[in-house]
Chain length 334, copies 2
Amino acid sequence: MKIALDAMGGDVAPETPVAGAVRAAREYPHLEIVLVGQQQAVEEVLASYPQRPSNISIVHAAETIGMDEPPVSSIRKKRDSSINVGVNLLKDRKVDAFVSAGNTGAVVSASTLLVGLLPGAERPGIAIMLPGVKGDTLLIDVGANIDPKPMHLFQYALMGETYARHVLGRNNPTVGLLNVGEEEGKGTGFIRETYGMLERAGLNFVGNVEGRDLFSGEYDVIVCDGFAGNVALKTAESLASAISQVLKRSLAMSPITRLGAWLSHDAFKALRQEIDYAERGGAPLLGVNGICIIAHGASTAKAIKNAIRVGYESANHGVNQHILASIQKHAIMQ
Amino acid sequence: MKIALDAMGGDVAPETPVAGAVRAAREYPHLEIVLVGQQQAVEEVLASYPQRPSNISIVHAAETIGMDEPPVSSIRKKRDSSINVGVNLLKDRKVDAFVSAGNTGAVVSASTLLVGLLPGAERPGIAIMLPGVKGDTLLIDVGANIDPKPMHLFQYALMGETYARHVLGRNNPTVGLLNVGEEEGKGTGFIRETYGMLERAGLNFVGNVEGRDLFSGEYDVIVCDGFAGNVALKTAESLASAISQVLKRSLAMSPITRLGAWLSHDAFKALRQEIDYAERGGAPLLGVNGICIIAHGASTAKAIKNAIRVGYESANHGVNQHILASIQKHAIMQ
């Protein structure tokens, strides 16, 4: 199986993507990792590793799309960017998945325009795994589609449920609809219409859930519009970082608390691992007619390695065939 | 100055509101606290305190609106509920502020219907203080209006800016617009229209901000629609609680980490205080023609006491006259 990786994507590129590719190549010897990016720059970073794994190859892409460039115009102007070249490999079925920590909007646009959507799918959605007290929850969409229609949210539920079932191995996964209250009838007209569609669909639909359920781990899948999802995700990132900064400051306040912090070191390490996004790797862009995985721009080498693993697992479980089947089945039912 | 408190509102009522009222009456002897609720039940709780402060009085209200009752129909049906009676005291100018930890929707509806909005104000908005690394940020709206128009968001900016200036004492407060990216032109049409209005208003408008800015403390005021604001707030609550649960579990994992946790006890206490919502008290419902403060249903006695303080400060600084002036000034400019 071949996984293409955007070697130029992310805050520190090509160094971090290459480091992640090397880790993945060693840990998953049955995979072939295709680094997509400026040949010379990628070769130079690769050369810094004493042993170059034989299951890493390079496909040259002359241009790079910056993290803050306008997505649609940049993929049109920079046809030879690492994102365009990588997505075209996916389109031509030369690779089984494409992974990028680059400009999210550009990856979404390039995948939608070049590879296209699964037949019947109306919009792509980004699904992210949130760590929870009782387990992980898949939240879809976190920003691919910030002004969706009820049908889009309905399809996100189908996509997320299918992913949870076939890739995550959840049995009869529960699906919740993110809202401002639990009672039926809460929310805007848009949300109430989506609620009705989900109720009739024969999914394991648990009704409305609230922001407080995102990290409880009580639900397998939570569906939301990309605006609220994006805000919630970034709020969570910022709060986690604020708590850790304030805790660090508090723990440094006296010799006794510093000793306590030193003794508790293993506990903090365990906490960090449990809530570490890097452990969960990338976020699948569902609805696209090919496996596309979006990683955080600040991804570490470990996060990149895990995003490659997520790409492999999605391809290995043939998630898109299952999503297609679910969309077709529910198109007849609606 | 007289502050009315809904004695029947919150998860443990009338016990917790009465406890908060007693604390407030002792700490702020210049205030008169008016407990609104079932006379006998309130008297019984008050009788459990050895000394009843002389600056506490009771106004009887025969009915109680439950935390999960439908807001509009319950305030219409239960005309003698503690919320209706309290809001009517505000309407008749018999008190200077009304504080409730009860059913938020019912408080919003009763205030809007009975007291009415400030002339020119189109919708009320709930403003909440978020603790941040560099200071607190006022987020408005967190759920009074889940399907707002650009003009509503624009007015929330005016209300929040005025509150930050006159009640919080911030000099030329910065105002940000919650969006999915920082660049101008990001977001839905609704957000872009609001952006244009804010840009022309002559406020200290810093442009778009993201979910990650909510807890940075970089901004004085952040404006958002009530749906996203509600989701963000509840997400933050849930994450903070998840982190603390997982940390507790991690710290208990060995005798050494348990010793470490015991030594670090003061640091955790400092952290809790810094991020404790109870310290910040209630959230003002801005835009209403009277001071109305909404407290969390799970408020402790300390949180109730602080919500009473917030009500007093709002009334003392005449925040509504300033909001009215700001709305009138900008109505001419628009």
